[in-house]
């Protein structure tokens, strides 16, 4: 309990530096802090549990490999973590573009079971279906905004300007609204 409280009060960078000095508990605390958010981002970007797990594994292995050399510059650890995840997603989508089409998981598989009302579950499945129809850059921009990132942070993660982020968000919401209104 005391150890958990000790790590809970530390920043992400402190935990990563502690892990770089050999404290495995620091990495565990850091992983527990960001594992679900990153996995959701990857799952909603890739729409497949198996692929999301594989990409998440690659992301965290990258974090482990770069822990000793990580230096805080202009981005926080969370932004750096999601940038790695986003790059892995792009790489996977590029590799899978030349492969035969793989069936995506249903929307029911992407939402936690038995935790939503029937009405909310129906609406969210419609929203996620509309998001799947969006271009990848608009979808990822929308998902990152829902994860709590600001436009500036999204621009750092995706490597585009803030105005581009704003326009992507605007196009993504407009297209999603049209799809929901039409009931497609």
């Amino acid at each position: 309990m005391r150890g958990k409280l000790k790590y809970a009060l530390k920043s992400d960078v402190s935990l990563l530096h502690a892990y770089a000095k050999g404290e495995l508990s620091a990495f565990e605390a850091l992983y527990c802090r960001h594992k679900d958010g990153l996995y959701n981002f990857l799952l909603r970007s890739l729409s497949r549990h198996a692929v999301a797990e594989e990409v998440a594994q690659e992301v965290w292995m990258g974090v482990i490999a770069q822990a000793a050399s990580f230096e805080l510059k202009d981005a926080a650890f969370r932004t750096w973590l999601y940038r790695i995840g986003r790059n892995k997603v792009v790489d996977y989508l590029r590799r899978s573009a030349n492969q035969p089409h793989m069936a995506l998981d249903t929307q029911d598989d992407l939402l936690p079971a038995n935790q939503l009302s029937v009405e909310d579950n129906f609406l969210l499945r419609q929203l996620m279906s509309a998001l799947d129809e969006l271009p990848a850059e608009q979808r990822e921009t929308f998902i990152l905004q829902q994860e709590g990132f600001s436009n500036r942070e999204i621009s750092q993660i995706t490597g585009v300007g803030s105005e581009t982020v704003k326009s992507r968000l605007r196009y993504a919401k407009s297209a999603t609204r049209q799809r929901l209104e039409t009931g497609a």
Binding site: L123, L124, L180
Partner: protein, 371 residues
């Protein structure tokens, strides 16, 4: 749309699979980075800091325990240093005696206070040790030490059962003893045997002869005593014929009732004057002795020597110093300086209270005041 986005954001998230968590954490433990290298700013100063720390600890230990003894110095060098120190201290003994004169009077008994002499100590720091009258060990009348030739640290002492009652009426007064030579040996029981042999024909000494014979018979087991007795007995026999003086009671180096009752002039004659001078001049220049005390009053010095629990020979001689002459109490014969030094530790506390000096007979002969 806004409501839908809020529901989307508030919707419970899909939890990371447990198998993924275990896999990543196991890989994190396996790929755990090693300890980071030391701070590069501290590395260049690390050796210097360690050196200063070790040096500081060494200085602290020296300050706490003091400078270690000089074990590496050869014994000969130590002996030379001690001799130099002894000579230097002896040259300044007169100056010290003047300052110590007042303290001497405080520690003398009433009879000694009447005399004009003053006891000097080898070291001015030892003035407090002049309280010898309070610290002198109690006399042991039954102890007599046999050895006159060479006393070393391992000299053996023989305890005789009963001292000769020198004050008794049976003292062989007819035993002639020459003051000059005989007194040098009269302090030993072997001399008593010689006196008994030489006085065997004297009718007046018949009573005491039996006692002496008893004492001698108890010493038959000692080969050294036998040899000594045979040598001195012949000498004493001739002296007995030549001497016309009345036989003086045998005086041992230890105080007895008889020796205490001797007059001051008699005791002074036995342990000082020509007797002591002859004894000193007869020793080899390479031998050593111990100078136990110094005083201007020979009587006091002799009484002081009689109260000490030390084996003979011990004598009082007069030595010449820069300012004035002084009487010194000498005790023991040693072949080497080291043996004399070791013997100091075996002396009685009363004899060591004035910090005895190791004196060389060659040096003493040069300082001896002859009449």
């Amino acid at each position: 749309m806004t409501e839908l986005v809020k529901k989307y954001r508030a919707a419970p998230r899909q939890r990371s699979p447990e198998r993924l968590d275990n896999l990543i954490l196991s890989k994190a433990a396996h790929e755990r980075p090693v300890q980071r290298p030391a701070n590069s700013l501290f590395s260049p100063w690390k050796a210097l800091a360690v050196s200063f720390s070790v040096a500081g600890l060494g200085v602290a230990l020296l300050l706490r325990n003091g400078v270690p003894p000089l074990n590496g110095i050869a014994e000969s060098e130590v002996a030379d240093l001690s001799r130099d120190r002894m000579v230097a201290m002896n040259s300044t003994s007169d100056a010290v005696s003047a300052s110590a004169e007042e303290s001497v009077f405080r520690h003398r008994d009433d009879s000694a206070q009447k005399s004009a002499g003053a006891v000097t100590v080898p070291d001015a720091k030892q003035e407090s040790g002049l309280q010898m009258s309070e610290q002198i060990a109690a006399p042991q009348p039954g102890l007599v030490t046999l050895d006159e030739t060479t006393t070393t640290a391992s000299d053996s002492t023989l305890v005789l059962p009963a001292p000769v009652a020198v004050e008794s009426a049976t003292v062989p007064e007819s035993i002639p003893l020459e003051e000059t030579d005989t007194l040098a040996q009269v302090t030993e029981l072997s001399d008593i045997a010689a006196m008994a042999d030489s006085a065997s024909g004297s009718a007046t000494a018949a009573g005491n002869e039996n006692k002496l014979a008893d004492n001698i018979s108890r010493l038959q087991g000692s080969r050294e005593i036998k040899e000594r007795r045979s040598g001195i007995a012949a000498k004493a026999g001739t002296e007995a014929d030549q001497s016309s003086k009345a036989a003086s009671p045998p005086v041992t180096g230890l105080p007895t009732t008889a020796s205490k009752q001797l007059s001051r002039s008699e005791s002074a004659d036995r342990f000082s004057g020509a007797v002591a001078n002859n004894w000193l001049l007869g020793q080899s220049d390479n031998r050593f002795t111990l100078q136990l005390a110094t005083a201007d009053d020979v009587d006091y010095l002799i009484q002081f020597g009689a109260t000490l629990n030390m084996p003979p020979p011990w004598y009082v001689v007069r030595l010449k110093t820069d300012q004035s002459d002084s009487f010194v109490l000498l005790s023991g014969l040693f072949e080497t300086f080291e043996a004399a030094t070791l013997h100091i530790e075996k002396l009685a506390p009363a004899a060591r209270q004035f910090k005895p000096w190791v004196r060389n007979f060659g040096v003493l002969k040069g300082e001896l005041v002859t009449p």
